[in-house]
Amino acid sequence: MRINTSDAAIQNVPEGSEAGNIVPHGGQTGIFRDALPPEIQSTLKTIEPFIQMLFGTLFSQDKAPPVKGYPAAAEPSAETSKEVKKKQTPEGAKTKAPTSKPEPKSKPLVNEKPRTTNRDEPVKADAPKETSAPSGCVAPAPAPNGTGSEPVAHKPTLDSVSQRELDRANSDRDFLSRFENGEFDLIESRYGDLLGWGKGDAKLSRGDLEWAAKDNSLSASARDLANQILKDPRLFNLMDSNSDGLITRVEIQALRETTEAKIEKLEGTSSTAMGATGGTGGTDGSQAPAGATGGDRSVSGGSATDGLPPTTMTGMPGAMDRVSKGIDAIMQEIADLPNQGLSEAKMNTASALLNQRLQALINLQQNMMTMVSNLSKMYAEISSNAIRNMK
C-alpha cells in the first residue's frame, strides 16, 4: 500500500521522509517520489518478509559456510564443558541486572527455508529433524556450551515444536482476552479511517501506520489508533493477519475458540512429549527440529515463522558464558590501558572505544538473559501443565 500522493496529507510530508515510507530521520524528501512512477513505488513495499529471507539464506543449508572471525574449531574444549556445567549463571550476570521485558514472545524466528505459501493456508508440519540423541534415551543437557554431550538425568525434554505452538496459543489467548475486555477499544470505524486514508487496501503496513500516527490530516482518534497498533506488536500482527483488515467481535470470538481448542490439544501433546522423546539437545542448539503446523489464523501472525526452528534455551547458556568472557576480556583491556604507554589523547580514544564495545556486550548480555528468563518461565509453565495433564 502506498499513500495517495494527490492527497493533501502528502503535501505535509515530514522532513526527511520519502513518499510511502516512513523515515523518522535522514532520508531524501521527494526524490523517490519524483524519480519513480507510482506503480514502482508500490512495488517497493516497506514491509517485506525480509526476516524470512535472511533466514532462508542463513539456515537453508544444514552446514552453513564458515564465517570469518569465528574460531576454526567448532568443538568447544572439554574444559569449557566442565566450566559451564559448574556454573549455569554467567559471571557477567552481575555486571548489570536484566531489565523488564515484554511478555515471552510466541514467534520464534529463524527460517529453515523461505515461506512462500499464503499466510492463511495451513502449512503441513515438517517432520522434525533427526537429532544426535536417539529417541527415548536420556535427554542430553541443553548444550550449555554448544556440545550437548553431557547427559542430564531426570530432566524432561519437551517437544520443542509443541512448546512453541503452545506458547503461541497461550499468548494468543491472553491477548484475545485483553481484546475482549475492551483494552484496545478497537472500533471498526476508526480503523476504517486509517484504511480510507490509505489507498483502500485492506491492510496497512507498519510504515503506513507510523506515517498515519503523525499525519495531522487524520482525526486524533485515528492517529491514536495507529499509535496503539504500533505499540503492540500483537495488535499489529492481528491486523496484518486479518484478511480484510477489520476486526469484529465475532472474529475475535472465533479466534478465541480456535485458540482454546488448540491449547487443549497441545497441552495433551506436550505431556506425551515429556521425557519420551529426548534428544533435542542436538549438537549445538542451532539444529533444533524444524517444522511446525501453524497455518490456522494465529493472532501472533505465526505463519511468518512456521517451519522454522524454535527459539530454545538449548545452547544459550554456553553462548552467554562466552559473552560474559568477552565482557571480562574488554574490562581487562580497559584496565590495562594505562600500561600501554599511550599518549593521553590516544588513551582517551581507546578508552571511549572500549567502553562503547563493553556497553554493547552488556546490552547483548542483558537481552540474552531476558530471553532465557522468558523461555524458562515458558518451559516451567508448559512442564506444569503437562504434569497436570498426566495425572
Partner: protein, 131 residues
C-alpha cells in the same frame, strides 16, 4: 595478518552466533527493534566480520527508518560476502527508493535465485523494465 576477533579470543563459535542471531531476529520480528539492535550490535563487537549479523542489523535499521545506516550495514555484509542475497536485495531496494537506479544491478545479481529473494528481485526488475 589481522588481529584476532573477540570471538576467536573467547572461543565464541559460529553456531553460538547463529543461535543469538536467531534470538535477535525473534525480537526484530516481534517489533522490538531496540532490543534487536542491541543484540546485533553486541554480536558485531564479538565478530565484525559476520555478514549475517551485518545484514540482520541492516534490517533493524531499515525497519527503524534509518535507510542510510541500513545501506551501510548491507554494504558491510556484501564486503564480507559479495554474494549475500539478502544484503544485495535490500541494498538494491533502498538505492531504488532513493532514486538511484544503480540499485537494479544489485537486484539483477540475485534475480536468478530460485528463492523468495530471487522472486522479489525479479518482480521489481520487471516492474522497472516495463517503464
Amino acid at each position: 595478518m589481522s588481529s584476532p576477533t573477540l570471538a576467536e579470543s573467547i572461543n565464541f563459535t559460529q553456531e553460538q552466533a547463529k543461535l543469538i542471531i536467531q534470538a535477535g531476529c525473534d525480537l526484530l520480528e516481534s517489533g522490538e527493534l531496540e532490543a534487536a539492535a542491541d543484540v546485533f550490535k553486541g554480536l558485531l563487537v564479538i565478530n565484525p566480520h559476520d555478514p549475517f549479523v551485518h545484514a540482520a542489523y541492516g534490517l533493524v535499521l531499515k525497519e527503524q527508518g534509518d535507510d542510510s545506516s541500513a545501506v551501510r550495514e548491507f554494504e558491510r555484509a556484501i564486503d564480507e560476502d559479495p554474494k549475500m542475497p539478502i544484503a544485495l536485495l535490500n541494498r538494491g531496494i533502498l538505492k531504488l527508493k532513493k532514486g538511484d537506479r544503480a540499485g537494479l544491478e544489485d537486484l539483477q545479481a540475485v534475480s536468478s535465485l530460485k528463492s523468495s529473494i530471487g522472486e522479489r528481485a525479479r518482480e521489481i526488475v520487471s516492474s522497472f523494465a516495463s517503464h
